[in-house]
Amino acid sequence: MILKAEAVTKKYFRKSADKNYFYAVNETDFTLEGGKLTEIIGRSGSGKTTFLNMLAGLLSPSSGKVLLDGEDIYSLNDKKLSALRNQKIGVVPQGQTGLDSLTVLENVKLPYILYSKNDDADEKAKELLEKVGIADLADSYPKELSGGEVRRLAIARALMNSPEVILADEPTGDLDDENTEIVLKLLRKTADDGAAVLIVTHEAEAKQYADSLYRMNTGKLIQVEGVKLA
């Protein structure tokens, strides 16, 4: 499995500035391969999240292509792109993304039941909750969880359909050292099992787990050489 970005650009218009647009991501090429964990670091506002959202099929690029195994995902209609994201791309969005009206277990099962007529995912969901260390909170609601626990819920949810690509936006933000290690080890293990994993973060805490490291700077992606990687 290969997820490629070819000269992707995201241009935003703004009326108030002298120049009436700016580039959040500027003609960036990138390749994410199965079995590898890649980390993109960069300051806040450097365009990392925009880039990740474009890779996830959540934000259409102003120009350029995002190819999954050679297929331009933005050439698909919304129905097909949504189904593809559900089956092949697991996204861990930034921030608190628990769905309040569902229990932790239901949150994790949700990606599975969207396109399945059967509700037979309890075992797998529980297994994932076990892996991220919140199995005892299965029947709780996200509002009853700490920030770190909600983040782990989002990771378990992203892994539910065993996707070929995992795109994680600040997956360890707000987590303590112990939880950070749990999450990063889990993502590393996911990569080792064959998935292509991308972590986007403003800190380089994941670099010891990464196979390659990139830095995003004012919308441009540069590979960082000379760092000690996994």
Binding site: N53, M54, L58, Q87, S101
Partner: protein, 421 residues
């Protein structure tokens, strides 16, 4: 709560399993149940919408039916009265205010009027007001009619009583609080209640009806007790009013004008013009209610748009998460529409049920306050109005939510996620 009714643990576990079963179709229910504050607030808005529509529609319909019922019950095209201001006022009081009264004229006018060209049917009526004294059970309007010529009261009585009324038999309006087979005493004379009439929604529901023989006995009894100074003459020689049905091909106004010009000491009044005043009041009241319904609907319609837009805006992040995990725009819109439709339907049905109960319970009070004929539609018609009102409110609620969701679904999920951080 349902679990209390299940006996075995196996049954409880099975029920729990079903209740917890999750699919894309159960998402709207989970959102509704697990956000009770939001659910109740939205339901109340739709509730108000359907309540206003149904209660208002029933009120307008009741006023219109009341007027139509009054027209039907009068049955005549022209009413001829003694030519005094008091007699006309008394008749209007009897018909529209429920104030018992009486007036009399010589019976010979009946023969004179029957000779007028264009008269198809003609009959006399006799009015007597009972008093609140020991000799009378209650103060009511007593209306006597001649069964041989009557075309006004008899068709109405026939709806609830198939036989001819005997001497001292009476038929009571539906608002008279007595049962069939009971007795009412007027001026010391006991009368048998033979039947109770169907509701007309007018003051005629508060009257008592009897044949000409009975009313003459009652007028004599009132004279004997010195309580009817107006009926000084022999009861056989007096009548209160003459009801006329005009032949096809003759103008009601022409016949009425002829009587007013050529028959002295009487006044002919067209029933349509007599109720035109009340029709104007009714039209005014109905228009006011219609304007009120429209105003409330416009207000609630705007309110619903604002509330749903605010709610969907507040849930932007939640919808973005749904999109992140692979829900399509169409699926998301369907889920939201279903959620809004369920909320709106429950709110709308509750509003309609409450409006129907309210109108049934307070119909009489409204009638008294308005001082207009007020005949509530039957339960089938109210149900039909209710279904239309519920459907309208549910559709408006759903459309408001759908429009807001549609607008949001056009925005890139990535932008929403970016906004939220």
């Amino acid at each position: 709560m349902l679990l209390c009714f299940l006996k075995t643990e196996a049954q409880k576990a099975k029920w729990r399993g079903k209740a917890n079963k999750m699919s894309i179709h159960t998402l709207p229910f989970k959102n509704i149940i697990r956000k009770p504050g939001r659910t109740v607030a939205l339901m109340i808005i739709v509730f108000l919408m359907s309540f206003t529509l149904l209660a208002g529609t029933v009120a307008v319909s009741s006023l219109q039916s009341g007027l139509s019922s009054l027209e039907t019950r009068l049955g005549a095209d022209i009413i001829v009265l003694p030519d005094t201001t008091k007699s006309k006022t008394d008749l209007e009081n009897i018909m529209f205010q429920g104030v018992p009264g009486c007036f009399y004229m010589d019976r010979s006018y009946l023969d004179q009027l029957s000779e007028v060209e264009g008269v198809e049917k003609i009959t006399a009526q006799y009015y007597l007001a009972s008093v609140s004294a020991g000799c009378c059970s209650m103060p009511v309007q007593i209306i006597g009619f001649d069964p041989e010529t009557d075309f006004s009261v008899t068709p109405w009585i026939r709806q609830s009583y198939g036989k001819d009324l005997g001497k001292h038999d009476i038929v009571v309006g539906c608002n008279i609080n007595k049962v069939v087979g009971g007795k009412l005493k007027f001026y010391g004379l006991e009368c048998n209640i033979a039947a109770k009439l169907d509701e007309t929604g007018t003051e005629l529901d508060n009257a008592v009806y009897c044949n000409v023989d009975t009313i003459k006995d009652l007028i004599s009894a009132s004279k004997e007790k010195g309580l009817n100074e107006l009926a000084q003459k022999d009861p056989d020689k007096i009548i209160s009013s003459v009801l006329i049905k005009v032949k096809d091909g003759y103008g009601i106004d022409d016949v009425k004008d002829y009587i007013n010009i050529y028959v002295r000491h009487v006044e002919a009044v067209g029933t349509k013009s007599m109720i035109s005043g009340i029709a104007e009041s009714l039209s005014g009241a109905a228009d006011m209610i219609k304007v009120l319904i429209a105003a409330v609907w416009i207000f609630i319609f705007v309110l619903l748009f604002v509330v749903f837009s605010a709610m969907i805006n507040e849930r932007k992040k939640e919808f973005a998460v749904y999109r992140v995990i692979g829900i399509s725009r169409a699926m998301l819109a369907k889920t939201l529409l279903m959620e809004a439709a369920i909320l709106s339907l429950i709110g709308a049905l509750a509003g309609c049920i409450f409006a129907a109960l309210f109108m049934t319970a307070f119909g009489t009070v409204i009638e008294q306050q308005l001082g207009l004929p007020f005949l509530m539609p039957d339960i089938g018609t109210i149900s039909l109005y209710g279904l239309i009102a519920a459907a309208a409110a549910a559709v408006i609620g759903s459309v408001s939510a759908f429009y807001a969701a549609f607008k949001l679904s056009r925005v890139d999920t990535g932008l929403i996620l970016r906004e939220g951080n």
